[in-house]
Symmetry: C2
Subunit: 249 residues, 2 copies
DNA sequence: CGTGTTCTTGAAGCCGTTCAATGAAAGTGG
DNA sequence: CCACTTTCATTGAACGGCTTCAAGAACACG
């Protein structure tokens, strides 16, 4: 299933999502840290599944797949962050979400990809041919169920983000975004006060529905109030409570 | 799978979704106009599936299920429109989408519902116990695949709506909303210039991330420009091209 | 026919956008 | 290794649109 439109915390579901995916499992050959999808398989099948994948490395800015292109493969991000975005008829760009290690991308959307995926930093993914992946699903209802559950989680996250986007104030959006990014990476590393942000201000703006100027100003303001500290490629959270309070209401 | 976060047109995918669901099929007993999900079943299985459902009627404002409640059933809307919404910590409400005939609701989100569903007008749904539905999916990989595809479509629609919400101007949002509602009901009736809107202005605002005042003003303005005509419980589209142009850019 | 709810419309204010310029950082080529 | 170029982030000022507050009108209901 496609992936992880990023999400807003706002509710405890974020934590749940983290819990779900904490059951990462190294899929051997490909070093696939697959989500719980993999754990649905008995060990024998598991090995078979793994051999379907082929590891691919991408340098920053490299395109994984493009909006409108025929979808020929499914990807599992193993390292780095992937940017997912769409081009609007008027030339503007909207970021749909960010693909992080453990996320599946491009699964069964349609014949064609509905968004573009490119690397924000050095990225490695595990590539599965769509045909092979589909064939593998045949006669493995439990596996399909896993994929379905994963998709549903993603949908719920997308809804969280819808709710966030409907908020009128920039502070709330930015604060919720930072907390969401923190929660996302907590699936891999233990939760930290340091939030890694490989994307630019423009990307954050396109994701939150804000102009680049507002994103910058809002971050600066949060920094001046000693809620966060801006560091290269990220922020450090100084006052978690305050950030949560801002994101909550 | 949960359902139909409503969506924005903006792209041709809306038409595709309509096409997909035009293959509605009357599921007999329950008069379930199930989406293509049903058509995955051979006739024998089809009958068995149908008997799992129980028809339920709801009067306006009746609650189908509540956010936070344990999910015990899956619903297929057969008549009327259902409002899907969440309550925010600060008491505000956000409409996630609208469930229309043919939509499945509350499928495999989580143990608990992540949003509330209530009737905007007289509604009939077909209720399937979650257990029975799950059991039915066992050993029917094709059926699960259908459900998965349906969920994926819903996810794509949710993404469309995310993109719409990120737009800064109210005109675009409202125009896209009207076109989306039109496309949605085109799955049942042939496309018409009359768009049925059973929800209130407040609901539209909560869905589009606008205040009720802005929704009202925007509609009035479109009416003054002879793009639409406001009628009880809906609008009539007078200039489709103009509306599409406004929604597009 | 009243009463409550919803919708419309007005006025004021605020917040985010846009336009624009400066400053910082990173990448490139001499 | 430094100067140059390019890109990105920050910040300022002015504008505009949406929100808020509030009052009046239309409607639905009992």
């Amino acid at each position: 299933m496609p992936a992880l439109a990023d999400h807003a915390p706002l509710r405890s579901r974020t934590q749940q999502a983290a819990a779900t995916s904490i059951a990462l499992r190294d899929c051997g050959v490909c070093a696939v840290r697959a989500t719980s999808i993999c754990s649905a398989l008995p060990d024998s099948e598991h090995g078979r599944f793994t051999t379907l994948g082929r590891r691919v490395s991408l340098r920053p800015r490299a395109v994984l797949f493009s909006e409108g292109a025929v979808a020929e493969a499914v990807y599992n991000v193993t390292e780095g962050v992937v940017r997912l975005h769409r081009l609007l008829p008027d030339g503007a760009r909207r970021v749909i979400g960010f693909g992080m290690p453990g996320d599946f991308l491009g699964l069964p959307t349609d014949e064609r990809h509905s968004f573009t995926a490119d690397a924000l930093e050095p990225v490695t993914v595990c590539r599965f041919s769509r045909r092979a992946f589909s064939a593998f699903m045949e006669d493995r209802p439990t596996f399909v169920r896993r994929v379905l559950n994963s998709t549903t989680d993603t949908l719920d996250l997308a809804r969280d983000h819808m709710v966030l986007l409907a908020r009128p104030d920039a502070r709330t959006k930015v604060a919720a975004f930072l907390l969401a990014m923190r929660a996302r990476s907590a699936r891999l590393r233990p939760p930290s006060v340091t939030v890694h942000l490989p994307m630019g201000r423009q990307d954050i703006g396109d994701f939150l529905g804000l102009s680049i100027a507002t994103v910058s100003r809002t971050l600066t303001r949060l920094a001046r109030q000693r809620v966060i500290l801006i560091i290269p490629n990220g922020v450090r959270i100084l006052d978690l409570r305050a950030l949560e309070r801002i994101a909550g209401a």
